[in-house]
């Protein structure tokens, strides 16, 4: 065995990055591409069940308590308003909200995070939670949302239609493919122009974010020329962003299911789902730009 010397150790340490730099693996790229063959099923799946009558009737118990809601990042503004409404009308009730990419919320619940309610932005993430035995009862659809392109108001990339997403040199930000909006965005790109168009769009991708609000933030700051978010996020983006419509034929309709989480407070969860599906919940959702399921 060669004797280790201080000099040789220093040399080895200094050489580490170069060794790594020269290390070339297979030709498959782990991410950063848009594969039109692979993304078609992730948002689909069976439709959420119709609402059982009993679910609509549940009320918040007079004893109150703490309701913990894990919700998709796109629900941030609507659910925050609901929290204030509910806490105002039920003084003994505390609502705790946790927002993030649907896929991250499901992972957290699977790893033992305590929650009463899970609301995701697509069916496949909800089905993953169902398959791992983390839900009580059937998920119910409560809202729908469509996609839009957002650009900074100065529109540095001069984006006027989805065709411009393929313009060479454009700085495009999408959510990563495992995030619901990331999957929908890729489907919209594929539906618009097929694989050849999708390849050009993928070449413009500069960042893959963990949830839709991070996509919006990068566009609001003006760091990115364009991003694809939900219609409701574009609304929440205020006057810092402008919308560029995605043609109806290519646009995707995101379905939002909600379910009670196993190990949570069933009474509170049922009451929240009833509120969400009832006129008050619908009203809040509608004002934030969500469509009926």
């Amino acid at each position: 065995m060669a004797r280790l010397t201080r000099r040789s150790t220093v040399a080895a340490l200094a050489g580490l990055p170069f060794w790594a730099g020269g290390w070339s693996g297979g030709s498959t790229r782990a991410a950063g591409t848009i594969d039109c063959g692979a993304t078609t099923t992730s948002a689909g799946g069976r439709a959420a069940a119709a609402t059982p009558v009993a679910m609509r009737a549940a009320r918040f118990p007079a004893t109150g308590g703490t309701l913990t809601v894990f919700a998709a990042a796109s629900l941030t503004d609507a659910f925050t308003e609901m929290k204030h409404d509910l806490e105002a009308s039920h003084p003994s009730l505390t609502v705790t909200l946790s927002f993030g990419g649907s896929q991250l919320l499901v992972t957290q619940i699977q790893q033992g995070a305590r929650a009463d309610i899970l609301a995701t932005a697509n069916l496949s993430t909800m089905q993953a939670a169902e398959a791992s035995g983390n839900l009580v009862g059937e998920p119910v659809a409560f809202a729908a949302n469509s996609l839009t392109i957002v650009v900074p108001t100065a529109n540095p990339g001069d984006v006027a239609s989805e065709q411009d997403l393929a313009k060479p040199g454009l700085k495009l930000v999408l959510a990563q493919a495992a995030v619901p909006v990331g999957a929908y965005s890729r489907q919209a790109v594929c539906a618009y122009g097929g694989q050849a168009f999708a390849d050009k769009v993928a070449a413009n991708l500069v960042s893959e974010e963990e949830d839709v609000r991070e996509v919006l933030a990068k566009v609001q700051l003006g760091e990115a020329d364009a991003g694809i978010v939900y219609q409701t996020d574009a609304l929440a983006g205020g006057d810092k962003v402008d919308e560029v419509d995605i043609a109806a034929g290519a646009n995707q309709l995101a379905a939002y299911p909600v379910a009670a989480v196993k190990g949570g407070n069933d009474a509170l969860a049922a009451a929240f789902i009833a509120y969400l599906l009832g006129p008050d919940g619908r009203d809040v959702l509608q004002r934030h730009g969500f469509q009926a399921p």
Binding site: L4, R6, R7, T9, V10, A12, L13, A14, L16, P17, A20, G21, W23, S24, G25, G26, T28, R29, A30, A31, G32, G100, G101, Q103, L104, V106, T107, Q110, A128, P156, K171, V173, Q176, A177, A178, V179, L205, V206, S207, E208, E209, E210, K218, L221, G222, E223, A224
Partner: protein, 300 residues
């Protein structure tokens, strides 16, 4: 003791031997008090040992659990896992090497200037350099965006020349230098401040030119401190997450370093990949720390 030293060197002066311990008086009450103190002391000692063991276990257990689970989940690794690892590890090693190089080149003279109090306001600079250490990474991310973002203080002028830093590997390096350089500068400042000025002056009096003094006296004497600081800075850069994801974005092979790839894989429900990357990062960091320690302890 009549050695004349400056206050900075005070800790090096030989202190008078401590006064001999007073013998315990040989009457009963005092002996009892001493005994009780002994019991309390022994109890306290036992509690301290238990607490120390508990903390040591607490620090090691999660890492063992992680590495063990990584092995359990190895069946889930596929081509995409290895590709993610290859791109992220390569990017992490290259960017942290560049960050460290920049930190050493610029941080060493800065630390020397501060440590030797060569300019007015050096002590203020000393305190300022520490600031990024206590800042949460998210604050670093926002601050970097406001300075170097496309519409940032400096970034807007760079943008005029078609230079954008966001979403590039350069942004990753900037984020790493911002959060890690203070660790090096702090350690190096202390190392330079500790060196006896007389040794350097003696060498100069014997005719050594300043560069020789620097090369043969100052740098070798400061070396252990510089090495410790460089190790800390490198480790901090390797773990950098918050400022990177906010300022540089997240793209495989360009800005997705190991911590970002781990977070992304975990968020995507790909626990096996997250585990593998975490364990590899643990091994690489451990190897580097051991190697540096070995370099520091052994003489040429």
């Amino acid at each position: 003791m009549s050695t004349i030293v400056t206050t900075r060197h005070a800790e090096r002066t030989v202190r008078p031997a401590p006064a001999a311990v007073e013998p315990v008086p040989r009457d009963g009450t005092a002996r009892l008090a001493a005994l009780r103190l002994g019991v309390a002391g022994r109890l306290g000692g036992a509690v301290a040992v238990l607490a120390a063991l508990a903390l040591a276990l607490f620090l090691v257990l999660p890492l063992v659990a992680m590495a063990g689970r990584a092995v359990v989940e190895r069946g889930e690794w596929d081509a995409a896992t290895w590709e993610t690892l290859r791109q992220a590890l390569r990017l992490s090693l290259v960017t942290t090497a560049v960050s460290l190089l920049l930190t050493l080149v610029a941080g060493t003279p800065l630390a020397w200037a501060i440590g030797r109090r060569t300019f007015r306001g050096a002590s203020a600079a000393d305190a300022l350099v520490d600031l990024p250490i206590v800042l949460p990474p998210a604050v670093a991310g926002i601050a970097l965006l406001m300075a170097f973002g496309r519409y940032g203080l400096l970034g807007q002028y760079l943008n005029l020349f078609g230079v954008t830093i966001g979403f590039t590997t350069a942004a990753v390096v900037l984020a790493q230098v911002f959060v890690s350089a203070p660790f090096y500068v702090r350690a190096a400042t202390a190392a330079f401040a500790r060196i006896h000025r007389e040794v350097e002056e003696a060498a100069a009096d014997l005719g050594a030119p300043p560069t020789t003094v620097l090369r043969t006296i100052t740098l070798p004497m400061a070396l252990p401190g510089l090495l410790a600081g460089a190790t800390l800075a490198w480790a901090r850069a390797l773990g950098e997450f918050g400022a990177t994801i906010m300022f540089a974005g997240n793209f495989p092979g360009v800005t997705q370093t190991m911590p970002l790839a781990i977070y992304g894989a975990f968020g995507a429900g790909n626990l096996a990949t997250a585990l593998l990357l975490s364990t590899i990062l643990l091994l690489v960091s451990g190897l580097v720390l051991v190697a540096v320690r070995w370099i520091a302890q052994h003489d040429w």
